[in-house]
Every structure is written in structure tokens, then in C-alpha cells.
Symmetry: none
């Protein structure tokens, strides 16, 4: 992955090499922060991964911390909008149809290399307010976004009504987080990802069985 450094001549490179050195540096930094942690990652490593010298970094970022900050800001909650799942549309269908798709899409997103990197990155850096806090924000956003949908289903009698809609969402997505972080990390193999999917499928089946409205749906 790392271009061998030292082969580069000095001075400003032809602009054909593109302006994406900055992007490349960010990617390298993300990968290394996720794998090693911020403190254990050196600017030399980041630069080497991109094939430049460490001093070149300071043409793009004022400091190592600044790279971290940029990444941290990007590491926002997974956007449900980006998932193309419109609650209004979904409301017309039944939980048995929608829930598996919901989970599948979430898993697809969590499985992307970039998401796995961000996940490890957040997990590592600060159990307290910083890292896991960010995960929490993501969860809250999900709850917010989907609670309406589940409430609608409750009103229709398609899903049990004896707990809040928020909790229903949480009971669906909360249990997925452990397999997610356990199996979806930057070094995951295909086997890991498949294992994760199996755990997830089992949970979804259980969830649907549990939450199906106990009484028969009203006519």
C-alpha cells in the first residue's frame, strides 16, 4: 500500500499527481489511528504510507492533532438519509418485511472498510466522552429517526404496544452493536463478516418473533 519514499525528487511535484495528497494523508491517518491509536501513530508512519516525508504533512495540516480533529468531525453518526430508507415509504409495509431490510442495510454500511475504520477509531479514542460518546450520538440519531415508524406500526397493531417505540428501536439495534464491533474491525476477514451476519440474522428472527403483536391484528 505504501509507495516507497525516497524515490521522489525534491521540490513541488507536478500537479498531475493531484491534489489528493491531503485525502491520502487523511485515509492513512484514519487507518493508523484505528489500528494503533492516536498516541502510538507517528506522523512519519502516516507520511510513509502516502509516500511523502513527514514534513510534507505540515503543508496540509497544522498538526497531527488537527488530522485527528478532521477525522473525528467526519466520524459522524451513520446517516440514515444516506441509506435511502424513507420512513414514510416504509410505513406502508409490515415490520416482517421492513425490519430485515433495515438491518441488512445497516450492516452493509457498517461493513464498508471506511465504516470499520471509523468504528475502531472511535472505540479506541476515549471511552469516556469522546469516542463512545460519538457512538451514543449515532444511536440516539437512529432512535430519533425510526421511532416514528415503529410508533406507526404500534398504532396499526402490527407490533407489540406494551413498550415505548424508542425502546422497540433500541431492542432491535442495541444487540447488534456487540457483534458489529467484535467482527467488523479494520482487519476483518470475509469469515468475520459472515459470522457477524449470522449473529445478526438470528437476532432479527428472534426480534420479529418477540415483537409480533400478541393479539391478532385488528381488522
Amino acid at each position: 500500500m505504501a509507495t516507497s519514499p525516497g524515490s521522489r525528487r525534491r521540490g513541488r511535484p507536478p500537479s498531475s499527481e493531484g491534489r489528493d495528497t491531503r485525502e491520502a494523508l487523511l485515509n492513512a491517518a484514519l487507518a493508523l489511528f484505528a489500528r494503533l491509536g492516536f498516541a502510538a501513530t507517528t506522523v512519519r508512519q502516516i507520511a510513509a504510507e502516502v509516500g511523502v516525508r513527514d514534513a510534507a504533512i505540515y503543508a496540509h495540516f497544522p498538526s497531527k492533532q488537527a488530522m485527528y480533529d478532521v477525522l473525528f468531525a467526519e466520524a459522524g453518526p451513520p446517516s440514515w438519509e444516506r441509506l435511502g430508507l424513507n420512513p414514510e415509504v416504509l410505513a406502508a409495509r409490515t415490520p416482517a418485511e421492513v425490519v430485515p431490510e433495515l438491518v441488512r442495510r445497516a450492516l452493509d454500511q457498517w461493513s464498508t472498510p471506511r465504516a470499520r475504520l471509523f468504528g475502531s477509531f472511535l472505540l479506541r479514542e476515549g471511552a469516556g466522552p469522546s469516542g463512545l460518546g460519538r457512538v451514543y450520538v449515532g444511536i440516539e440519531a437512529t432512535l430519533e429517526h425510526l421511532a416514528g415508524l415503529f410508533a406507526h406500526w404500534q398504532n396499526q397493531g402490527l407490533i407489540r404496544g406494551d413498550v415505548t417505540a424508542r425502546q422497540l428501536v433500541w431492542e432491535l439495534f442495541g444487540p447488534l452493536q456487540i457483534p458489529r464491533f467484535l467482527f467488523l474491525h479494520p482487519d476483518s476477514t470475509d469469515v468475520d463478516i459472515a459470522t457477524c451476519r449470522r449473529w445478526t440474522d438470528d437476532h432479527v428472527a428472534f426480534y420479529l418473533a418477540c415483537t409480533a403483536s400478541p393479539e391478532r391484528p385488528r381488522p
Copy 2:
């Protein structure tokens, strides 16, 4: 917490001071590793926390890494045995009675300062096989230990039988891990701990409602 070093004179301290420096160093290291991560923790910090000079560490451990290794080896799965929950005894009671107690005890253990430290420590260091892997081992141990109990309840018709006992255990404890790591970290306040307990209680209530055998218990 940190005794001020530098005041001590040169040689061996009089035994009247009677402190177990080795243990103290391990505790300080655990706290710092959990809070800052291994790489960001310096041996001088560890030593200062105990009130000795950094060089004194090397009379007890061959290296900083060795301290980590000792801690890592200690950070085993939470022993269910130590929880004083005997499956045979529990089998005589109903899930509605036992499950909340089970969870309460687990939470009690996870809430201890030491467990919170170890949790953060493991979370930080190595998402892949090392840190979270250890968490996974803990989960597996739990599944192993309690699956028999749940199977017994299934046989008695006290709990739904349409999923495996293992999954029943997982559906109980899996969802607790996120609130656990979210709210039970080394810097948790009482509010954090209370919040965690509330999430947990909600889940237990939901779980019991879901898993109660759908057919009425056999007479």
C-alpha cells in the same frame, strides 16, 4: 492520589512504610492505561502515581510492556462463580424472579471501579483479537455457564422454546453491553451508573415480556 516523590532518600525504604509497591504500580498502570491508553501513558506517570521514581519500576517489572501483559492476563472474563449464582439452585425458581437478580448482580460487578478500569483498558487496546477478543471470551463463558439453566426453563415451559437456549442467554446479556461500556467507564459519575441501571431495567422488563412462554404454562 499521587504521593509526591523526590522526598524519599536514596536506599531501600524502611519496612515501616510497609507498602506493596508492586501492587500499587499495577493499579496505577491499570488506571492510566484505561484512561489514556498504553502508548500515551509514560512510566514516569505510573511511578509518580505511586510516589516513586520511574527507575524503581524496573525493580519489579522488566519493562512497561510487561506491566501491560500482567494486567492483560489478569483481565480475564468476569467469573460467574465469584458471583455466587449457582445454576442448580436457580433452576428451582422462575425466570421472572431469577433474571432480574442475574442482571443486577452482573451490573454490580461491572460497576466496581476495578471492573470499569479493566473494561476501558480492554476496549482501548486492540479492537481485533486482543481487547474486544477478551470481551468475547467473557461473553462465551457466560453463555456456556447459563445455557443449561435456560434450557431447563425451556423444558419446563417457563420460557419460549422456539430459539436455542444459547440465543436466549445472548438476547438477555448482549444488549446490556452497550449501556455498560457507554456508562460504566473509569470516570463514571453516580448519574452515569444510575442511567445505566435504568436502561438495563427497561431491557429486562422487555426481555421477560418477550420470552415468557406464549402458550399458557402447562398445568
Copy 3:
């Protein structure tokens, strides 16, 4: 000799200062290794001698050991070629003329500050295979280079023929080594060097008297 460091500002020095830091570092290291030995020499001393901070060394060499290795590699046998003594040319002259000149040139070379430094350096570092071994290689090279010349003289009856030519060379140069290392060290004064020359002259006179062919030269 040491430029005072610490006055320099942070970044790259303006090229107007135009110094070859790498060479300067090697020279300083050689002097210190010779005087104090490798282990007793600190990188800070080396750097200070050159007027830079110790960290600057690592822009030029990967380690202190690497500096040693470079010097050790350089400390090859004194090149007779460099002495400008061509055996073919010398063969036309008599031992009584050539031998004193040979010795004088060797002594001139051994007397240079750099040669004295290398001598002490080699002497210090490893009596066994490393240091003195290198001296031995130098001696062997000399024997090799000059044996032909002495054999030629033997054939002409200009020098005694009852020992091998190799031994004749050795009997000339071997005895010079003790005064050499005794008096030609990095701290030699002019008096030391003069003393060395006196011992040497005495030996040469003795050598010529001894090795003159005992029989009268053939007509």
C-alpha cells in the same frame, strides 16, 4: 573546538553556514572514540563537538553504532599505493637508499592526526578479531606489497638471502609498531613524535647493518 550549541534556531540552517555536518560528526566521533572508547563516548558529546544537538545526529546516521561502523570500515589498512612508492621503480635502487625512505614515508603517514586517531580507535575497540585484527590486515597488506621488492634485492645479492623475503619485510616493519602505538596517539606532542622517530632511526640503522649481504656483492 566545540561550537556552542543551543544558540541555533529551530528549523533547517541557512545554507550560508555551509558546513558538512555529516563529515564533522564523523570526525568528532572518531576523536572521541579514540580518546574515550565507544562505550564511554556519548552522542551528546559528539553532537556538542560539532555544535548541534544530539537529535541532529539521527538525521545523518541511524544510530551511534552506525557511526562506529562507518569509521571502522574507513579504518582500512594504510594504502601503500597512496604513499606513491612504486616497487618497480624502487627495485632499481639499493636497500640502503630505499629502506630509510620507505620507513620515513610510513612514519609520516602514521603521524598524521587522522592516522593517530584511527590507530587508537582500532587499538581500543576489540583486541581480538576486531581492532588488532584490522592492524594485522594492514601488516599483511604491507608484506604482500613489498615482499617482491625484497626478493628482488635478495636475487641481486644486495640483502641477505638466508631468510624469506616476507620475513625481511616483517623484521623491518614489525618492530616499528610498538614505538608507533606508544608515541603516536591522538594526544602526542611534538616531543613524542620526535622520540618515535629516534627509535625508528635506530632500528633502521640496525636493520641495514644486519641485513646487508654478509658476502661481498657479486661483481
Copy 4:
């Protein structure tokens, strides 16, 4: 050679272990100083070689430097007296008989492990006044001791008279020093020692041939 430390119980050992810990320490120190040099030798190494802990050294010597000083003081010139060669007695015999014996005895002494250690020790520590200076003192003592003998032979016409007796001694022993230090070091093998002896024998033969009085001995 090193007893494994750590097996010793604490406190004062039974006096049966003898009072030679001090001697053992000195021997270990000599070996290490010779092999590694003073600076590169640690008190831990010395102690370990003897099977005690480093702190124990300070029950016998006030400092590492003190050990060095004791050794250095011992490293006196090889005593010709100890060789049992009485110049008066030798004077009654011819150079052709005495010289080979003289050299053989010197070589025997230089070949002892202890002498080899002291040799390397002196060679290493201070090319200038300290180490080689000591060697020089040894040489001077030899010259002093034997000059009378050679002068006697000169008077008898048994050996050439055109150089001073002092130089005759020097021309005999000076050339031996290089093979001595080259082949007689602490790690010498039997092959090394044999090689040294061969070089030496060649030199002695050459020396005798050279120094035999050119004129026929007076009747």
C-alpha cells in the same frame, strides 16, 4: 562459569563459602574489563559472573573505579625475577643458548590466561599515558634488567658490538610485541598460541643470525 544467581538465600553466607568472593570479583572484573572495556562493563555483569548481586560488590570495594584501580596496580610489568632468570648465571653461557630460552620463558609468561587478560586490559584502557604507558614501563624494566647481560656478551665478542646493548635487547623483544598482542588475547585458541610461537621462533633465528659477531670471536 557464572553460577546462576537468585538461587542464593539472603543474608550472610556461611563462611565455608570462603573469603575469596573478593578475589572472584576481581577476576571477573579483569576478564570483563579486558573483553569489553571499563565503560562497557557493568557492575551487574561482574557480580553475575561470581553469582552474587551487584549490591554485594560494595561490601568489598567502594566503587567500580576502585576495582579498576586495584587491577591496574596489579598489572605491573612482568617481573623478570619471577622468571627465575639470573643474569649473572646466564652470562656464563652463549647467546645462542640463552636467547631462545629467554624468549621461550617470556612467551610462556605472556601466554598464561592471566597475563593475556592483563594485556588486553592495559591495551584497551588508555592508549595514552595509562594503558600503553604501562606496557612501556614493562619494556623499560626489561631493557634495564638485561642490558648488562648483553653488554657482557659484547665485551666477550659473542655478539655484535656496533650498537648499544640497550638496542640489542630492544631489537630482540620489541618485534615480539605485535605477535604477542595479536595472538595472545583472552580469547586465544591453541592455534593462536602456536601461531604466535612460530612467528617468534622465526624472529629469534633471524636475530641470532644477525647479531652473531661478524668478526670471528677473539681467541
